[in-house]
Symmetry: D3
Subunit: 275 residues, 6 copies
């Protein structure tokens, strides 16, 4: 069950409201790299977690933290929208600089939300829940989480560069820090479960006889004119300890030339396709 | 530039066409765990790759391979739809068993595509390109790719269990194998770049002074009644070699109680909100 | 800031797991009538609330409650999926009754989530955040909330009828009850603010001179052959106390016949459109 | 059956074309607060209306009116786009003021629609029909309609402030007026059906024994540190006349600590989750 | 301006209600081949039509007809849902045949719409307005319309085969007929404008010097092992009368090998990408 | 099976990088008129092609070419983003002209993709695969393809006008040329199959007795005050050679006034709807 306390997890201060930066910040709320995504992803993973309950607990705890991130970011967006012109008669609206800034602002912050945050990204596209990755497989979910936190920290770092408001930089430095921890936290689960060798290939429970293992360890070069890029993936032991990497430079198709033959009557096709 | 040869990358054989399994297979084409996603993800990552061109080449080669996976899966869907009833007059349509199967089939395989594959998932929801994760950051992109291949192999393993058609099992065993390789291949890039210690936190180019590092290495317990789940993430050195993990059991809010005060005139709010 | 405690807000018991009912329940999680919607709607309304802070607090408290509803519904979905066949070899899968049930199940509950809840509706369509209605206008938001809770209680009542599992009926009777309260709670805000007469038209802050009031109080009959349906909306005082209702039976267009004339050169049109 | 006459329902005049305002106006066409939404919502509600046919008629009549609103708004968008620069060679395009305006314009008005209206909102996001709320329950539908018209009038009021074109202000004053009527019209249906006491809780046909009425009339405070906001919702008779409001300050969870136990074999999970 | 009359454009009769066929029919309402699409497409094309007003009129007239098609199809869906089981206690619900049918039905027809039509396709995916193709170019729009009507008639023909209800067959035969006319009607506009030779290439107003005409008339064979399929497109005069068709069997890339070099500092990439 | 060679299909040169034009170019990648759409549309049509395999081959060859178009356009976007300001400290960012340009840029090109192409349109809306039209009917598919290429050439022509960069104009002139060929190529298939008379109505395999042919050849005027626009569609032989065109000026509804009567018990409606 969820509870709430009245103070924000982190302090939000905006020294110089900036409607364009409000639009940028939306990416951290409603973007695929944003906080709604991780809050909901960890929440649904927790609800579906099978096995040792400690991972379920861990997921729910961090899901709860991410809800608090949405909250302070939402406040930051609203504070950045303070003072945005609401009518063309306002002095501000006649200022060409303001005008240029407003050209880069999200009009729905004025028209739809009344100067507050929305669950959309910096293009105004609403977040959709298909980005909540929760497979029921603990290792696959951990990878999805490291991905989300990596994208999140890349985004926060870029936002940090795009403002010179010290309040906003302070808030973003906190987000950058928490994303550092969260990246590591999910990787730590993999390590606890025996590391890559034990965890891979994901899922590690797939019986070997379900796999055409003769195709499991070569890098396939599909280029007609480029040599195979050599690296850790073309030689040496595989990470799961089961084989050696190799490469295949000239891919020969292993299948047939496909053809579906004639169309059947009553199939809604042209008559010519049926004969 | 892309080229095509006429044979499939892998052989497709369907011994006993099954419209319901055709619907299931769609998840591997147009699902978030599917082949359109990885093909397009690696393609866009390749086009945006900066730094050593060998990673760009590697990404483009595997993007090209994934296009070939779409192709043979598309053929598998069409073959599973052979013989599906097109009219209620057909004998097959009167058979209760067929009826039960068709109840679980995707009606658009008959109504919209004329018995062939569509770029949708197993619920008939079209794939949308917001799932193409490409950040420009090589390590973040590699994580996204391991995620995609993990989800892909989980899916292929589950599909393998849901059919007893030997042709389909053979095809899926090939997919399972290639997903094994692709998971490892992207992790190998991380290893080449120095491993986790060098790569993390992602992005590793964010200056330390942009980060509130006092918040970077503790696990935050947000539960009111559960003890902190102990593990590799609560003690020991952090993976980036910069600090030690710790935990914080009683989170004190660090911020203010937010309030936006009165609404401004002309803001489209109720009058009562303005006074 | 959010917190979590380990027990569910309400007890979840499933006496007879039913994968088809798991699919139905998804409507209450990820449907437009569902709990993700209200949780996020109240949350974003709270973050944008201007005026008396007590409404902000009230919104945040109920947002938090709705998060707890997602949680117990998610558990209910997972429990309904216990025992669903994971392979075609399982005995269950050969049973025609099971087969019929599975035909009506969501295949992604097996293929994608591994027998647990997803943030999708009963058609498998992911929830998208465009359904989070938050205008910054308190009265408009209250109406949106009554709407959401009305749809929610309609849905819960229909779900109640579609199961005979006593555990599920018990859980749904709790949801029905809370939706009763929440409908009333949001209407009570309108009453506190002076009732309909004071609140309407929404927004009540729009100056009268911005409104063509000669068009504000008549019902327009646009039918060529039906008489105007008479009712409270065709006569008597308007609810805002400003005028009397009337009706207009024969709508005369008040505007011009529109024409855009010729297309401009360089507009990408056909040449014929330009002369 | 629908018919059309050649003149617009209301006169459209644009004194000073403004591509940026064309973008803003799109919110009133293809936004969730816009005219496509209400036209289609009333249309689908009418088609599904059961009970007294007069509500069906009323819904269809207003649906028809809303189609006419789309039409004149579409003309207003096109007129605002007259003269927008189509080539970088045009004089206009070299003017920095024009440039600033165009930076805030929707590029698809030039690239995709050839200077005319599109069924998208002011961020260019296409309207999607999931926003057509039609439950089959008359009272729930009326609430959805008041919501839509409230959002619509808030939007029209904000648009009114964002232009100083007298033609546009005149057109918007008409929209503001019609939204006034439509808000009242749908509320009047509730009054006709006996008012809130009779209508609530929605649906009022749910048998009392399907409801855990001990949970139906208290406000739940989920905050750890805020007192319950007192108001009409914490004491006094409930609006349905069935009970008294109360409050619950310290929510005790009523349910169990959830756990799903081990994962089953063949479930595509990690082996560790299965033991 | 739009008007409505009370009778349906065509008679709707359902002899044997069938919830599964109700789901199928949804494709003709809310599918990309359906009536919402053509109604809105012709409507938006009409509003943006520049040039001879007769095409604008024609588009608006047929848009209006298509609205009437939505209306009678919506009624057909509702009639097919009459009698669908609303509770598990109903006799019907215990019947295995009913059960099988309901497994193939759309649960939202019961849970969300209360036994009536929804603006969704046969998978329950809501129609989205990105499918309204309106370019401002008359010939491009005509092609889009022939496409929509071709898909529509293919769909109606397939639906005709999937029912043996004589009422439904009668209604579908009307739809098939109107789609015949509409296909021809839009092609007739092309003929009036001088036929293909005059209309192509679309847009025919693009100056020849904007086109690399040496690449305008050859078929490009991108296959490594298939001969060029010979046909009307590989030889003979082009349809625009400007050139001769030819073929190019061995595509030589005309461009460079792309590389973006190093990443810039502050770009949120890994450090290794910047050196 | 797909292959790749390292050079682009066409040369890409950007003389003066322009982040705003990068945003515009996205329409040609991820817009409905763009290259992802045609690549995937031809690919799925090829996989579902029944009848003469030469059309399947032709479709796959051009699908492959379109993948190469995505590739060079993606490079063009990245080159246009070179030099875009990444921090507010950069000199460029202080320049008002740069500022105005950035106001019109896509912030996600900085925040999300790190200065490279994304699978989105010029509003930042991701491409979704519902726009892949593939019906299994060869003629319907050809029409869809002419439509896509017409929209594509309209777009390329408009983009050509919106830049004065000679490199970009050169690249676009190539796209314009290939779209010329592709429009013709798909029409040529219709001609090969006997031309319009043989191909129409699509599908030409629908038995005449499934069609209410008395409604197949008249233009329906649904306007109350406009005369029927006369043209090739109101008289003369129909294109399929089966009949003569006519017109119907006064549409009489052919159907009943619809009514659904009372709602059933347990349907989740208001009690008043049930009596």
């Amino acid at each position: 069950m969820f509870h709430h306390s009245s103070k924000l997890q982190y302090n939000v201060r905006v020294d110089k409201p900036d409607p364009q930066f409000a639009k940028f910040l939306q990416q951290a709320i409603g973007g695929v790299e944003g906080e709604i995504r991780v809050a909901m992803q960890y929440f649904f993973q927790a609800m579906g977690a099978r096995g040792d309950d400690k991972y379920r607990d861990m997921l729910m705890m961090t899901a709860t933290e991410e809800l608090s991130h949405i909250e302070f970011l939402g406040h930051a967006v609203a504070l950045n929208l303070e003072g945005a012109p609401l009518t063309v008669q306002e002095e501000a609206a006649k200022d060409p600089v303001v005008n240029a800034i407003m050209g880069g602002a999200n009009p729905r912050h004025i028209l739809s939300s009344g100067l507050s945050a929305m669950p959309v990204n910096s293009n105004g596209v609403p977040f959709d829940m298909s980005h909540v990755y929760a497979t029921g497989n603990l290792a696959a979910d951990m990878m999805a989480n490291v991905t989300a936190e990596s994208g999140g920290r890349v985004l926060a770092s870029r936002l940090y560069n795009m403002t010179d408001d010290t309040g906003m930089k302070d808030m973003l430095s906190f987000l950058i820090a928490r994303d550092t921890m969260h990246q590591q936290q999910w990787l730590a689960v993999i390590e606890e479960l025996g590391g890559w060798e034990a965890a891979m290939p994901i899922p590690n429970s797939t019986p070997q006889e379900h796999e055409a293992t003769e195709h499991s360890y070569y890098f396939l070069n599909t280029s007609l004119d480029e040599p195979t890029p050599e690296g850790r993936w073309t030689s040496g032991p595989s990470f799961d300890g089961r084989s050696e990497f190799s490469k295949r430079d000239k891919p020969d198709p292993l299948g047939q030339k496909p053809s579906l033959g004639k169309a059947r009557p009553h199939s809604g096709t042209q008559t010519e396709q049926q004969k």
